[in-house]
Amino acid sequence: MKAKQLKIALRNCGVTDPENIQDYIACEGYLALGSCLIAGNRQAVVDTIKQSGLRGRGGGGFLTGQKWEFASQSEADKKYVVCNADEGDPGAFMDRALLEGDPHSVLEAMAICGYAIGADQGLIYIRAESLLAIKRLKVAIAQAEEAGLIGKNILNSGFDFKIGLKYGAGAFVCGEETALIKSMEGNRGEPVSKPPYPTECGYLGKPTNVNNVETFANVPAIINKGAEWFASIGTEKSKGTKVFALAGKVKKVGLVEVPMGTTLRELIYDIGDGILNDKVFQAVQIGGPSGGCLTVKNLDMPIDYESLIAAGSMMGSGGMIVMDEDDCMVAVAKFYLDFTMEESCGKCAPCREGNKALYNILNKITHGKGTMADIDRLKELSVVIKSTSLCGLGQTSPNPVLSTIDNFYDEYVQHVVDKKCRAKRCRALIEYSVVEENCIGCGACKRACPADAISGAPQKVHLIDQKKCVKCDACLQKCRFNAIVVK
């Protein structure tokens, strides 16, 4: 039997009209908030979330109920509920899709959280460029306020809860909760050491409960259907479902929501319908730039927080990029390092300089100038960057390097010793040449070459001057006789 999706967080996406609160209400919308307020027991709400086993979907996987408990126990005259909608992983868009498709479930969950922890103000931190999500949120907030489901004295319970928006300028690190709080306060978006945790001292120095969009989206369903129902889905320590942004070389790409414990094979072959053009599966990068590359040997591993970490990757926010035999794993590591190097906030030395050093070495290797000592250096640097960096960005940024070295060591050695790139992705390591038997001397390649690297008289076999060739691929694309090959 083929594995199937199970939609909890995405339950209303594509089903209800996100700009019509009546649609949401028709699907049990605001029922959970209402029942919490009527029951009038804050601790019971915290307990339900704790019992459900819900864990943060923003990457860390921290137990949501426990976080709410800490926030509810912090004494203060003012507390905040923050929804982290920064979502900066390249290729990930589950949070944005959720806010665009079902903004009310997040608003409702924030109000429930506010009630549980004793906060009267909610803030959603979202990238200013997410125009549609912002528009839908504004509409939803206005409609919920008008309906008396957000604002003063909600449902006559005496509970007040307002929700506002805060805009981010699009820095990956601002998704890290302490940097996010700094950014909301109008400061440079730099993380600060924890403890103290935001639940103790967060936005404007007040206890602040930060949760991810998807985490919140699960909450109303848990309240409505019960903690036991939720806890019955998933694995022992990872309950419920997870939304993944399946991308790369699979036939069906897009957002998918599956129960925790689904295997990679089920995700890629059943739900994703297999590898594009039926090529050979090579690796899958899970968890965005901070994750790691998993391989064939991990295909039957049930996906949950623990097993991913044990395999050298992580859940992250749920980016999942599938790679096939045509992908060069050294180049993949370099691609991710390019991202983290740019996105490091620069606050601490190992991440600021170390990721650049990693990138430089990877660059050297992909240009055929690497040595075996460079591979050892990559490992050594990675270990130190992970163990000394201040925040989660630096603590995880070397994962793509370490996991590709672990799983594809031969490929590194090939780049360094044989000066070859198996996937023919590293330009400095490939050579374009003419297959004499096939060349009819039509001259198409010669005309296409921008570097004047091809010579040959009409109807005679042509020749590529390796010194001049810039490896642009133009000749190969123009030749109709399969006379140009890459080696």
Binding site: G346, P350, E353
Partner: protein, 352 residues
Amino acid sequence: MLVTINGKQFEAEAGQTILQVARKHGIYIPSLCYHEKVGAAGKCRVCVVEVEGMRGLQTSCSVVVREGMTVSTRTEKAIQAQKLVVDLLLSSGTHDCLACAQNGKCELQDAAYYLDIEHPTLVFADMEPHCDESSEFIKVDHNKCISCGRCVAACQKTVTNDVLDFGYRGANTEIVFDDGKKMGDSTCVQCGECVQICPVGALTEKSVKGKARYWETERVKSVCPYCGVGCSMEIHVDRKLNKIVRVNGVESSPVNEGMLCVKGRFGYDFVDHPERLTTPLIRNDDGSFRKASWDEALDLVSTRLTEIKTKHGPDKIMGMSSAKVTNEENYTFQKFMRTVIGTNNVDHCARL
């Protein structure tokens, strides 16, 4: 409470960090961003150590000691990390110690030496020189800056001038003045607090270039000659040339806690200025001056004052004292005016 560091027990106070306890007892843990004046920043990550019962490496500047805590500063893991982070900082800058004014009093150099780093081993692209010499007294060499943040904290929190901050991000992070101006075009008042707190040679006094280095100078403790605050200063003198090379504020002074103003720190060229008066001058009848001895000059003053006092009364005399002398001298002066001359006509230039 008792804390064990590298197998030895030490007395520690509640609230102290591992780094503070270690320093107090003379145990060196390489660290670059911590300074007692601005506190822990957790930015350089060089001071990592291992603590029993805590997972992974810990930054000793941020971990507060607990009774019975056991710390190792020199485990293989800690040394490897300390060494590589210092290596990264050396590799990613231009550290030409031979020509650096900070040579010999550089915390990066100390850390590198202690960690046995002979030369930087990581390869970064060659860097273009990147200096800002637009201000009157301070040279900024961005390629030597290790982004420790001490100057920024000092500018914002200690002297509260709020000029310095960090700009850009990732490996392009650098200190900026106001919103990215040149130091000379910014609202910087050239107090030099940042120069004094910078652990490396990224912020230096322009005037020290090529002069006697730290170990070649003699330190003379003094009080600033400019105003009545009386900031404590440490004057660095090149005895071979008998010249002042640099002036620092004394960190332990309760008066100024290491801070100085632009005049105190940089305005010392009057000391050996050729036009400085070194003997009393007495005005000739034609209006010109002649040099005189102190005895002669004081005799003249005393005679003239007595004459005026007897002829016109003490209130025809007025005394004006200076902010450039000490409080004690000002006190003596007003006492002299009131009791010896017998007038209350006494004032001070700081009121003008």
